[in-house]
Structures are given as C-alpha cells and as structure tokens.
C-alpha cells in the first residue's frame, strides 16, 4: 500500500500551550487527508528562522478525518521548535507527509502501549486507531518528568486504560516507565508491546520484552535531513544492515534491531 506523499501548506487551527516545555499544533489540510497510519510522521518547514535549516520531524499525535485536522505534540527543544511555538491561528505550516511505516496491527487484544516524555505523541493516534479500527482496548503506560507535564490523560483514556508514572513521583507511581508495577509485576498479561520514547528507555523495554517473549515494536527518532529516504542520515543498525528510520521505520520490531 503506497500512499502518495504530499508537500502541502496546512493552516494552524489552534496552538495550545500544555506546559513549560510542550505545545499542541492543530492543523487543517486544504483537501481530504490521504490514509494516515499510527507511527507515521510529518516533516515541518520552519520558515524565516535563520538559525535553523532543515525541516523538523514530528509524529502524528491524532487525526480527525471529519474536520480534516491533525495534531502534533511538540516539545520545545531549540530554535526550530521555539519558532513553531509562536505560530498563530490561520498561519500556514508546510508539511511533507505522510512519512514512514506504521505500527503493525496486533493479532491479540492484550496490548500495552508505553510512552516516555514526548514519546507519548504517536500513542494517542495508535490507541485511537486500535480502538476504532480494531475494537482493541489497549493498556497505556505513560511516563513523564513531573506532574506539570502530565497532560491529555482524558484523551488517552477515551481509548484505553491509562497508567501514569513520573520521575519524581508527583503523579502516579515514581520512577522510570520500566519501574512501574505494571512492568515489574504484570508484564506477562500482555502479548504485544508498542513503545516510543528516549532510546535508553526503548532498549530497556526491548530487553524486558525479550526475557518474557513478548512481541515488541518501538518507534525511533534518529536525526534526519530529508525524511523521505534519500539522505541516508537516519539509519539504524538492523539484522539486515543499516536501514533508514524514515522509510523502513520509524517503527521497528525489536527482534530486527541490533541492540544486543
């Protein structure tokens, strides 16, 4: 299934500040969306920002096919994301999309979604998709730094059971996602894990999944220049050689990655 990639100006419907470090951009497309899949991402053009040069990749956070809008959950990191945080209602944002593969469809109902920090971004779309397209009620484990960064829980809760853990314990359990009781004591109830977050977190999850023989897919966020497969900058080492995170990924089954 090869969906045509678009280079398109979308327009800002809402720019919602969630907390000190995160904001949501809701964008409306000029025409009906092509089929968008959870795990796919967009490359956003940061206009008139002299200190940035390349586009910025963001995973699709949620999609509303009725209103033809999508949302991006963005963490303020540097000049590019700062520039995007200043976008106002009605302003255009040029995107190349949809890019990358997607999370696979599970052959089980016992599904665990694990997100850490900004890695929660694709999991809202994934949980929405699993619920609406596959009638699956996933369990979600979302890790944040602190209480102030715990946001949109009611959104995730529309599609599954949500568990929260914070680094400092100000909300939910305390620690990193792998410290959560769901992982320590209840991991065997799951037959499929989908995870997105910092690479050390993903490696730790992959290890646990391996020990318990649970099929596990992770979404990587390697730095990239183009996002559509030509620069070969974002590669990750796999059992079949270096593969592009932007085309063969961003979602990889952990069995395929050379992480051991």
């Amino acid at each position: 299934m090869d969906v045509r990639k678009l280079v398109q100006d979308l327009h800002v419907v809402k720019n919602i500040r969630l907390n000190d470090r995160h904001f949501l951009l809701e964008l409306v497309a000029p025409e009906t969306f092509p089929m968008l899949l959870p795990g796919q991402f967009v490359q956003a053009l940061v206009k008139d920002s002299p200190s940035t040069f390349l586009r910025r990749p963001f995973s699709i956070h949620s999609v509303d096919y009725v209103n033809n809008t999508l949302r991006l959950l963005i963490q303020l990191k540097g000049a590019g994301t700062h520039h995007l945080s200043l976008l106002r209602e009605g302003e255009p944002l040029n995107l190349i999309y949809p890019l990358g593969n997607s999370f696979s469809f599970p052959q089980t109902n016992d599904v665990l979604l694990i997100g850490g920090g900004c890695g929660v971004a694709p999991l809202l779309f994934l949980s929405q998709f699993l619920r609406q397209q596959h009638q699956i009620h996933p369990t979600m484990l979302l890790g944040f730094k602190t209480k102030e960064e715990v946001t949109e829980i009611e959104e995730y809760s529309r599609f599954g059971n949500v568990h929260v853990i914070t680094d400092d314990g100000t909300e939910g359990e305390k620690g990193l996602v792998v410290d959560h009781s769901l992982i320590r004591d209840g991991i065997n109830q799951f037959k499929k894990i989908y995870a997105c977050g910092p690479e050390p977190m993903l490696r730790a999850i992959a290890k646990i999944a391996g020990i318990h023989h649970i099929d596990c897919e992770v979404s990587l966020e390697n730095t990239m220049a183009c996002g559509f497969g030509v620069c070969l900058c974002c590669v990750t080492a796999t059992q079949t050689g270096n593969e592009r995170v932007c085309v063969e990924g961003p979602v990889f089954n952990t069995r395929k990655l050379k992480w051991n």
Partner: protein, 304 residues
Amino acid sequence: MIDLSVNIAGLIFKNPVTTASGTFGYGDEFRDFIDLGQLGGVFVKAVTGKNRDGNAYPRMSETPSGMLNSVGLQNRGVDYFCREIYPKIKDFNTNVIVNVSGSTLEEYVEVAGRINELAKIPAIELNISCPNVKLGGMAFGTVPSMAADVTSAVRKVYKKVLMVKLSPNVTSIAEIAKAVVDGGADVITLINTLLGMAIDAEQRRPVLSTITGGLSGPAIKPVALRMVWQVHKAVPVPIIGLGGIMNATDAIEFFLAGATAIQVGTANFIDPQVSVKIVAGIEEYLVRHHLDSVNSLIGALRTD
C-alpha cells in the same frame, strides 16, 4: 522563444538543472513530488564495486545555513545496481547519470566498465571527492597526479561522457582541474562537500560518529562560486556547478561564474520540488533580461 537546453560534451540537457548525487536517491523517491522529465538530468547515488554499509549513526548534524554528513557511500554495489536499480530508472525521460566511486583505482575502473555497458546511461560522474570514506574517495581528488591517474585509467574503459567531481578540500582547484582534463575528463563537476566538524559542547563529544564530515548547503556557496570561476578560467571543458544552490538566483550566479549546468543538492531535502521551481525561475530570469538562451550567461560575469 526561450531555449533552456545546454550541450555538455555532446550530450544534450533539455535544461541546465540537474540533481546532485547523494541527495536524490535513485530518482524514484521523488516521483511523488515532481515529474523527473522536467529536469535536465539526475545524478543518482554513488555506486561502488561491493556493498557498503556506510558509517555508523550519527551521520548528520545541522549547522548554520547547512549540514554536515558522514554517510560514507552506503550502497549495495554495482552488481545490485545493474540488476535491480537500472531497470527501474533507465527509462526516465531525462539524462540519468551514475556517480561512480571506489576505494582503489581498480575499483573505479571495474565500476566504470560495468556502467559503460548500460545503454541508457549516457555519462558517469567519477567521484574522487567523498570525504567520508577511509580509503580512496577524496584521496584521489586532492593529489593532482592521483586525480590524473584515476581519470585516465577510467577513460580507457569508459567510452561515453566522462565527468569528474572535484573536492574543494585542496590548495589549488585549478591544478586538480587541469590534471583531470589531462587525464581525459570531458566535464568537471564541482564542488563536493567541504570537510568540517561539529562538536556537542555539553557532552564534550563530536556529533558525528566519524568525527569529521562533509559540509553542504548555502554555507558553502561562496566557496563553490569562487572555485567554479577559477576552474572556468583554467580549463576549456564544460563545468557543472553545485554547492548551496537553493533557488534560481543561486543557479544564475553559477552560470555567470562559468558553469554550463548546475546540480541541486541539499535543497532537495528541504523542498523536494525545488529543482523544477529552479527551472521555472531560470526561464523567468531569461525573459526579464531579454535573453533567449542560458548559453549567453555562461561565464558572462562582468569584471571590468
């Protein structure tokens, strides 16, 4: 009537806009974005003798007005290219030119000989300027005698248009240009990336796995223009210019410096449609200046 076509060593390009090797995949990746038939030519990703995995990640760092890369010529090798890639790209409605690279003189000769057999590839671009491989690559492009040797060795087995892509990491670009023309090059392409480096101060580590990498993008355009100008004055062969071209105005500057055609490189990453926009922009420039051909701009810089 505006004529955008140019003749480069007997090969006709419908317009002077082509795409740089390593920034355009095998062309196929751009079919969603543009009609390849609107381009003068496409230079496809470097081909080497054997499969190369390339360098370890991280391979890229954004820099002011540009980027550093250290991909390291990742490709599946010439057998795979001839068997799997060539059938898919041979009927593009444009000149499809293959970038040929290697670690040894023998490897360059082997790959060039194999590509010579492909009927629908009218030219090769000899890459003696990749800064990201341990052996060969740029080493051949920074010593005039080695540049001449590899060019003449390939010349013996390659019967069609032979282009040689030069490295800017040299003291005298004119000297290297003369050496490859003496070796039998029909066309000179320049410039490849400038050797550079990026450091993460917080981690106190290099950003790239290879420590150094190749700088591209608008940051290098002034260097590229200077070198095109120097080579234009030094040798009588046509030049294909590249280095930081983002729009039609940049392209015109390269023609004025002495280039007959240009390659769009890093700009493809930011706007995959930019190459066809540059074709339109060149036409608009010619109309505005009451010129009927690109040829009247080549080397037409006024220095009096």
